[in-house]
């Protein structure tokens, strides 16, 4: 049941109609039922896995909180981590590592048979696993007390607006909202509708319309010319941003309608000045999760430059692998790890102090944004490519076959301008005002017209193929 489907509209209409009239406990139980139904609509078999994983986590964390000795607490934390990561490994990475091992052994002449079974990938497993891990770790660290009610914990783990693709919430942020009554104001309703509408526009009008432009290069055999590859990468950069940001905004909008305040996941990421800034703006809930539960436990920047570099690199490599069980995601993580390492090196060796004063403030920022946007785009090539050989082929086209074929690039450019043009203008304006939703600053009269333009863009030119969100595969 995709957010951009009428089935979901019907589902949410029913949920919301009753939700408004229930008392607080009733609302929570109603949301648990709705969330389980929502997840079960994808695949009922995987619902059992979700409930079992919730139950085991709940018991583990409660037992951990009941212990007074740190060693005993640690044992329960380890059990909880082992459970969560074990499930994630088994369902998401087993075939990847098995196939990779098989290929490796084949090089040495050992032929091992294929796995006699095929494991289904549960939708949203990476997201809800990380959310449960953050709960166990935060309780262990004493940052948040364990929740008493199992249904509240299930709601925390399976809250349907953010169950499938985040934002990955923390107990300190989401749990109090579950435990306390949630007043529903008119402002919250308006805000929720606006966020959902904007998210729908991003997904259905921009992301889904740019998908064929991207597929023209990435899903068709080459050779392609350099400009065509470049435009396809640009298109993918906006497709993936609008797809994921669209989902996040829809999730936040639904949360607002239900009285929740989910965290923002994006903040004008293509205006990042460098890799550190990018990860403060892109998929914020994941990057802060990786920072708090992986980078800092690895040692963070406390143990000297080389350890810092190692930690940055490992964090990004695992962050890449988190996205999917494919080597190109590992390569993408590797690439971002290298970028972070280089950025750290650049700033720590005073190179920045020597180079940056050469250009004045605004021009410097523009240049940095331009350079880093293109470095990010290069990363998207690794991310979108179906194989490492395709990465190489496209890189070859991009740099060694750069000549203009107007007939090839004209429709791509036209589509990019038509579908992403307004969005880019709004992003630029948003950057100058430090506000991703800058259109809310329009005078009221213009805002009504602006929303009408969005509405007609959506219903006349929005795709109606109910395309799934890119991040659902993770």
């Amino acid at each position: 049941m995709l957010f951009n489907s009428f089935a979901f509209l019907g589902f949410f209409g029913v949920i919301y109609a009753l939700y408004r009239f229930l008392p607080h406990r009733g609302q929570n139980l109603w949301l648990v039922c709705a969330s389980l139904f929502f997840y079960g609509a994808w695949d009922q078999r995987l619902l059992l896995l979700l409930i079992a994983s919730c139950a085991l986590n709940f018991i583990c964390v409660r037992e951990m909180a009941a212990r007074t000795q740190p060693e005993e607490k640690k044992i329960y934390l380890r059990i909880s981590l082992f459970l969560n990561l074990g499930i994630l490994f088994l369902f998401k990475y087993f075939h990847f590592f098995f196939d990779s091992l098989q290929s490796l052994l084949r090089v040495f002449g050992w032929d091992i048979p294929n796995a006699p079974f095929q494991i289904l990938l549960p939708i949203g497993i990476s997201f809800y696993t990380f959310q449960k891990i953050s709960y166990a770790v935060d309780v262990y660290r004493g940052l948040y007390p364990p929740v008493r009610s199992f249904s509240d914990f299930v709601l925390y783990s399976t809250f349907f607006p953010q169950l499938i693709a985040g934002p990955i919430e923390r107990p300190a942020h989401l749990m109090p909202q579950i435990l306390r009554p949630r007043p529903i104001h008119l402002e919250g309703f308006q805000e929720g509708c606006l966020l959902f509408f904007w998210g729908l526009y991003e997904k259905v009008f921009i992301a889904d319309n740019l998908a064929p432009v991207v597929a023209r290069v990435f899903d068709q055999p080459g050779p392609h010319t350099g400009p065509a590859v470049l435009l396809a990468i640009y298109a993918y950069a906006f497709q993936i941003l609008c797809d994921f940001d669209g989902y996040s905004n829809m999730a936040r909008g639904l949360g607002k309608l239900l009285g929740f305040d989910l965290m923002a996941n994006f903040n004008l990421p293509y205006f990042a000045l460098g890799p550190c800034d990018f990860w403060r703006r892109w998929h914020i809930s994941l990057s802060t999760w990786l920072r708090d539960y992986l980078y800092i436990p690895l040692g963070g920047n406390r143990e000297g430059t080389w350890f810092t570099l190692r930690n940055l690199f490992l964090t990004m490599l695992l962050g890449g692998l988190w996205h999917g069980a494919r080597w190109n995601f590992v390569l993408w993580g590797f690439y971002h790890g290298v970028l972070l390492m280089l950025a750290h090196f650049y700033h720590s060796t005073q190179a920045a102090e020597r180079i940056e004063p050469l250009i004045s403030g605004k021009a410097r920022n523009c240049l940095r944004i331009f350079i880093f946007f293109h470095l990010t785009c290069l990363g998207w090539l690794f991310f979108r490519a179906s194989s490492l050989s395709q990465c190489w082929e496209l890189l070859n086209s991009l740099f060694a076959n750069f000549h203009f074929q107007i007939a090839e690039i004209r429709p791509m450019l036209a589509a990019l301008v038509r579908y992403a043009g307004l969005f880019i203008v709004l992003q630029c304006w948003g950057y100058t005002r430090h506000d991703p939703f800058v259109f809310r600053r329009l005078p009221e009269a213009f805002r009504g017209l602006f929303y009408a333009v969005l509405f007609y863009s959506l219903i006349l030119c929005g795709t109606q193929n109910n395309a799934a969100f890119i991040y659902f595969q993770f």
Binding site: S5, F6, G448, A452
Partner: protein
């Protein structure tokens, strides 16, 4: 927000009103007027014994007036256009039966590609032409009745995906003219340069269809006139069809299969015979081996239908291979001369069929309920 929402809603209201009032005059979807007129015709008291159903191949291929004269069976031409399949014909038949007694038979005729089209098809047909979407057309034509059929189809075929979201689309005029509006935005120069021409055409078509209402029941258009012969477009269409036949095998889409099944069940239950005629086709295809292989599959499919259903009969055994001089502007469309010759052939077969069936006329099952 106090002003934003009223301004937003007012803008929507103004745009929708403008589209509803203005777009019918300049729309590129002129064919829709024909479909609507045919549906209105089905609501009239016609009292026919033979109903012609199918696509434009039947609408332009059969001269219902001539057929009526030659067979003595009161005939009405309810043929629709390409995007309408058996679901549309069933709904039209039900509409017709609300006002009229049961006919003796339905003469069914389709171009070969009709069976391939699916409910969700938005591919251009013929290649290079505008997008065709059965769902939108059927929903606009039959409204709620179509959605009931679509819901029943979804229940019978759980694995298929019926685009129910389009239900809401048909409520907004801007959605009904979305193709025009898209063209207006993406190719404004082309759209406006053609607008006045389309307006004139629209007025002409409207006159054509309304002024001569008496004849409208016999022909695809209201009058017996058909457009002048256009050989270059026949060749162009033939080339497109030929390219398509080379790259496809003959298939019947899931929705067509299901709709046909419903149509045949209904006609069997009502005791209405279904007479299938092979459509006319440009004889240039006969020299193309791959095309003949494709068309053989089509023939096999229709033969199977006649074998499996006792109330279904084939009137002809092969396509009516039309000569160049008989062709209009498509490989399945006949001009007046072709229409006359083909209708005469059909009338002869129908007379033979009636003569053969005479002894059985007195049996209660075969007797038409028409007085």
């Amino acid at each position: 927000m106090k002003k934003t929402l009223p301004i937003f809603l007012t803008t929507l209201f103004l745009v929708e009103s403008a589209v509803a009032l203005w777009m019918p005059r300049i729309t590129t979807q002129r064919d829709f007027a024909i479909l609507n007129a045919k549906r209105e015709l089905a609501h009239q008291s016609l009292d026919a014994r033979l109903i012609i159903m199918g696509d434009s191949a039947a609408g332009l291929g059969v001269d219902a007036k001539l057929l009526e004269e030659k067979t003595g069976l009161k005939t009405v031409n309810l043929a629709l256009l390409a995007p309408c399949n058996k679901a549309a014909h069933l709904l039209l038949l039900k509409d017709y039966l609300r006002q009229n007694p049961k006919p003796q038979a339905i003469l069914l005729m389709h171009a070969f590609d009709i069976w391939w089209r699916d409910l969700r098809m938005t591919e251009p047909w013929p290649p290079g032409a505008g997008q065709t979407d059965q769902t939108d057309i059927l929903a606009r034509l039959f409204g709620w009745d179509f959605w009931k059929i679509a819901a029943a189809y979804q229940c019978r075929n759980q694995q298929t995906h019926v685009p129910f979201y389009r239900f809401f689309h048909t409520l907004l005029p801007s959605q009904n003219y979305s193709e025009d509006l898209r063209q207006m935005i993406s190719k404004p120069v082309d759209f406006w340069s053609q607008a006045s021409k389309r307006r004139r055409q629209h007025e002409y078509a409207w006159q054509h269809m309304t002024k001569d209402q008496g004849n409208y029941r016999y022909y695809l258009y209201a009058g017996s006139q058909v457009p002048v012969q256009d050989m270059p477009s026949v060749r162009r269409d033939a080339k497109d069809d030929w390219v398509w036949m080379r790259s496809h095998t003959f298939t019947v889409s899931a929705f067509n299969k299901d709709s046909l099944d419903q149509f045949l069940r209904f006609t069997a239950k009502e005791g209405i015979e279904v007479w299938i005629a092979f459509p006319p086709l440009w004889n240039g295809f006969r020299s193309r081996p791959k095309a003949t292989v494709f068309l053989k599959s089509h023939n096999f499919f229709l033969n199977e239908l006649a074998e499996n259903h006792p109330h279904v009969h084939l009137l002809t055994e092969d396509f009516y291979w039309a000569k160049n001089a008989e062709m209009l502007n498509s490989v399945e469309h006949l001009n007046l001369e072709g229409q006359r010759r083909f209708t005469a052939e059909l009338a002869q077969t129908i007379n033979l069929r009636i003569a053969k069936a005479q002894p059985a006329v007195n049996s209660p099952r075969q007797q038409p309920r028409h007085p």
